[in-house]
Amino acid sequence: MFRKADFRLVAGLLLLAVVALALGQRLIAEPPINLSDDISPLNPRLFPSLVLVGIVVVAGFFIANRIRGVEDFEGELEPALAGDDSGGTKRLLGFLVLVVLCALVINMLGFLTTMFVLMLGTSLLVGNDSIAQIVAFSAGLPFVIYVLVTHVLRTSLPELDAIEAVLVPLLGMLPSF
C-alpha cells in the first residue's frame, strides 16, 4: 500500500522543487544594494537552489527506479494508515477538522473554551462514553494548566476579557510563587 503512497509523495515533492526552482527569483528577495563579501559572502539564493537541485535529482532517481521496477528495500517503518477501517478513517478526518479549527480559533475563543472544545470533541471521537468524565476532564484540566502557566510560570495564554475578569480575582487568592 505504501509503495503507491511514497511514489505520490516523492512526485509531489519533485513538483514542488521544480516550481520553487522556476520561481526562485520571486520567492527569494535579492539585496537591493550590492553587499560586500564580508557582509554577505553567500547569495541568499545559492543554498536553496543547491538543495532544490539535489531534491530534483534524488526524486528523479527514485521515480526512475520505480518506473523501471527496480526493487528497493523498504525498511521496517509501518504505514500509519494500514488496513481498511472506514470508521477509523472517519474518526481521523473528524479529528483533523477539529484540530485545524481549534488552531484557528484559539485567539478568538480563548484558551479555556478552545481546549474544552478540543478535549470534548477528541474524547467523543475516541469513544469515551462517560459524559460526566468527559466534561470534568475537559473543563478541569485546561483550568489547572491555565493556573499553572499564568500564575506559576507567569506566562500569558490567550483568553477572553470576560473570562479573564472572572479569573483574575480568583487567581489573586492563590499564594504567589
Binding site: D6, A29, F73, L77, L81, F95, F111, M115, I145
Partner: protein
C-alpha cells in the same frame, strides 16, 4: 577540559535539578508504561516545559529523565500485557510476559528495573570518560571544520535512517529546504515567506518537533479508537532476590557492553541493541532452550542492552552534533533551544554546563532505582488507563506547549501542518529524522559555510587545499564513508528482515 569537568561537578549539585530529573523520570515511566504512547511522543510533548524553565541545568536533565524513564517504562506493559510500551521493549516481551504467565510478573519487573539502572549507570560513566578525548580533539575546530562536520553528520544521518537511502536523502533535502524559510542569515533578505510577517523568523522548532513526532501518533490513536485491552497480569509473585540478580550480572554486563557500542553508532538505536543483547545472552547460556519461555536472563539481557544505549548516544550528539535516533534528535533541538549548539564548539563555550548535565545523568540513575522500585505497583495500573482519557490530555498538552513557545497562534497552525506532513510521511514509510536534522542544521551549515567563504577570501579551493586540510579530508571522505555505511546498513536491515521472516 578538566577544569570544565570540575566546574560541571560543582554546578550539577543542585537540589532543583534533581527534583526536575525525578519529575522527568516519573513522567517518562508513565508515558512508557502506556501502550501506544512512546518515549518520543512524551519527550516532544514535554519539550516546551524544558524550554519554559529556561535553565539548561533543569530543562535538559528533565528531558533526559523522561528519556531514561520512558525506555524502562516500556517494559511494564511488555511484561504485564505482552504489548511493548516502546519499540525498545519488543524483545522484553519474549521472556517478560512468559514470566507473568507463570505468576512471576513482579520478578520480571524487578529484573527489568535492576538491569536498566545498572546498565544505564555503567554506560553513563563510560560516556563521561569517552566524551573527554573526543571533545578535546574537536575543540580546535573552526567554521570550516564545523561546516564539514555538519555536512558529514547530515550524510550519515540520511544513510543510516530507516528505509532506502534515497528516501533518507529526500527527507534531508526537504528539511533543509524548510530551514531556509525566513530571513537569510547574512543579508536578512526574505526567503519563501510569501510576504507574511509570521514566516520572517522561519518555522519554530517546537511545533515542528511536536507536529512530526507526537501528532502522527495521536492521529493513529484516534483512528484506532479505544480498544479493549487483554487481561492484565496482577502484580503477584516473588520479588527478585539478590542471588538471582547476582546470577544475571554477567548477562547484564555483556548487554551493557553491547548497548554502549551500539549507542556510539548513529542510527542503530535501542531495538537493535536489545535484539543483539538477547541473542548474545541466549548463545552464551548453558540452557538456551529456556529463552522465550520465561527466562529471567532474557529480561535482563534485553533491558540492560536497550538502556545502555541512552548514555553513549550523547557522545556523537554532543561532540559532533550527530543524533543517533529520534530521541536524540529531540535532545539536539532541546539543547539548541537552551542556546547550546551540540558540536565541536559546545565544550569550548559551555563545557561546564555539558559536564554538569552528564554528571546529573549519572546520578539520576540512583533516583531512577528508587522511583522505579517504589512505583512499580502504580505503573502496573497505568497500563489499564483508557486511551480515550489519555489522547485528549495529550493533544491539549501539545497545543499548550506549542503556544507557550513564543505565544504565537500561527505556531498552532504550523503544528497541525507538520502533524499532517508527519502522518503522510509515515503512511509513505519515510523516516522523519533526516528531515528534522536537515531543518535544525540547514541554516547552521549555510552560516558556517558562509564564514568559511569569508575566511577563504578569493580562492576557496586554494584555502581548502593549503590551509584547511582537515576540512577537505572530511568533505572528501564523507561521500565514501556515507556510501559504505549506507550499503552496510542496507545489508544489515535485509538480514534482520529475513531473520524476522
Amino acid at each position: 577540559m578538566l577544569e570544565a569537568l570540575l566546574a560541571g561537578f560543582e554546578a550539577a549539585l543542585r537540589v532543583d535539578t534533581f527534583i526536575w530529573v525525578s519529575a522527568g523520570l516519573l513522567l517518562g515511566m508513565l508515558m512508557g508504561a502506556m501502550p501506544g504512547f512512546t518515549t518520543t511522543m512524551g519527550m516532544s510533548v514535554l519539550m516546551p516545559v524544558a524550554f519554559l524553565v529556561g535553565d539548561p541545568l533543569i530543562g535538559i536533565p528533565f528531558l533526559i529523565g523522561v528519556y531514561k524513564g520512558g525506555i524502562y517504562g516500556g517494559s511494564v506493559p511488555a511484561i504485564l500485557i505482552s504489548m511493548p510500551g516502546t519499540a525498545a521493549s519488543v524483545v522484553t516481551v519474549m521472556d517478560g510476559h512468559e514470566l507473568s504467565k507463570k505468576g512471576q510478573p513482579r520478578k520480571a519487573l524487578d529484573m527489568a528495573l535492576a538491569a536498566s539502572v545498572i546498565s544505564d549507570f555503567i554506560s553513563d560513566f563510560l560516556t563521561l570518560i569517552l566524551i573527554i578525548p573526543v571533545a578535546a580533539i574537536v575543540l580546535g575546530f573552526g567554521p570550516p571544520e564545523i561546516a564539514a562536520i555538519m555536512f558529514m553528520s547530515l550524510v550519515i544521518v540520511s544513510v543510516t535512517a530507516t528505509g532506502p537511502v534515497l528516501k533518507g536523502l529526500l527527507m534531508l533535502g526537504f528539511g533543509f529546504w524548510l530551514s531556509f524559510v525566513g530571513a537569510d542569515p547574512f543579508s536578512a533578505m526574505e526567503r519563501y515567506t510569501f510576504g507574511t510577517t509570521e514566516l520572517y523568523d522561519g518555522f519554530h522548532l517546537i511545533p515542528m518537533l511536536i507536529g512530526l513526532f507526537a501528532l502522527p501518533e495521536i492521529f493513529n490513536a484516534v483512528r484506532a479508537g479505544d480498544r479493549k485491552r487483554g487481561r492484565v497480569a496482577s502484580l503477584v509473585g516473588d520479588r527478585l532476590s539478590w542471588k538471582e540478580l547476582k546470577a544475571s550480572m554477567r548477562t547484564i554486563l555483556r548487554s551493557t557492553g553491547i548497548g554502549t557500542a551500539v549507542g556510539l553508532v548513529p542510527g542503530l538505536g535501542q531495538t537493535v541493541a536489545a535484539m543483539m543483547g538477547y541473542i548474545a545472552a541466549k548463545n552464551a547460556s548453558k540452557h538456551p532452550e529456556t529463552f522465550g519461555k520465561g527466562e529471567i536472563d532474557g529480561v535482563a539481557a534485553a533491558e540492560a542492552a536497550n538502556n545502555a544505549v541512552n548514555g553513549p548516544t550523547m557522545v556523537p550528539l554532543l561532540t559532533l552534533g550527530i543524533p543517533g535516533d529520534n530521541v536524540t534528535a529531540l535532545l539536539l533541538g532541546a539543547f539548541m533551544m537552551q542556546g547550546l549548539r551540540p558540536g565541536p564548539t559546545l565544550f569550548e563555550t559551555s563545557g561546564a554546563i555539558v559536564f554538569a548535565i552528564l554528571i546529573v545523568m549519572l546520578f539520576a540513575n540512583v533516583i531512577f532505582w528508587f522511583i522505579g522500585y517504589y512505583s512499580i505497583p502504580m505503573f502496573s495500573r497505568v497500563v489499564t488507563i483508557k486511551k480515550s482519557l489519555l489522547i485528549p490530555i495529550t493533544i491539549m498538552l501539545a497545543f499548550t506547549g506549542t503556544y507557550l513557545a513564543r505565544s504565537n497562534p500561527f505556531d498552532l497552525v504550523t503544528l497541525v501542518g507538520f502533524g499532517i506532513i508527519g502522518l503522510a510521511l509515515r503512511k509513505a514509510a519515510f523516516d522523519v529524522m533526516p528531515m528534522v536534522m536537515g531543518f535544525i542544521l540547514g541554516r547552521e551549515l549555510e552560516y558556517s559555510f558562509g564564514q568559511t567563504v569569508s575566511l577563504a577570501g578569493d580562492s576557496l579551493l586554494q584555502f581548502a587545499l593549503t590551509e584547511r586540510l582537515g576540512m577537505t579530508a572530511i568533505v572528501v571522505a564523507t561521500p565514501i564513508f556515507g556510501t559504505l555505511i549506507g550499503l552496510r546498513m542496507s545489508r544489515l536491515r535485509k538480514q534482520e528482515l529475513i531473520r524476522g521472516g
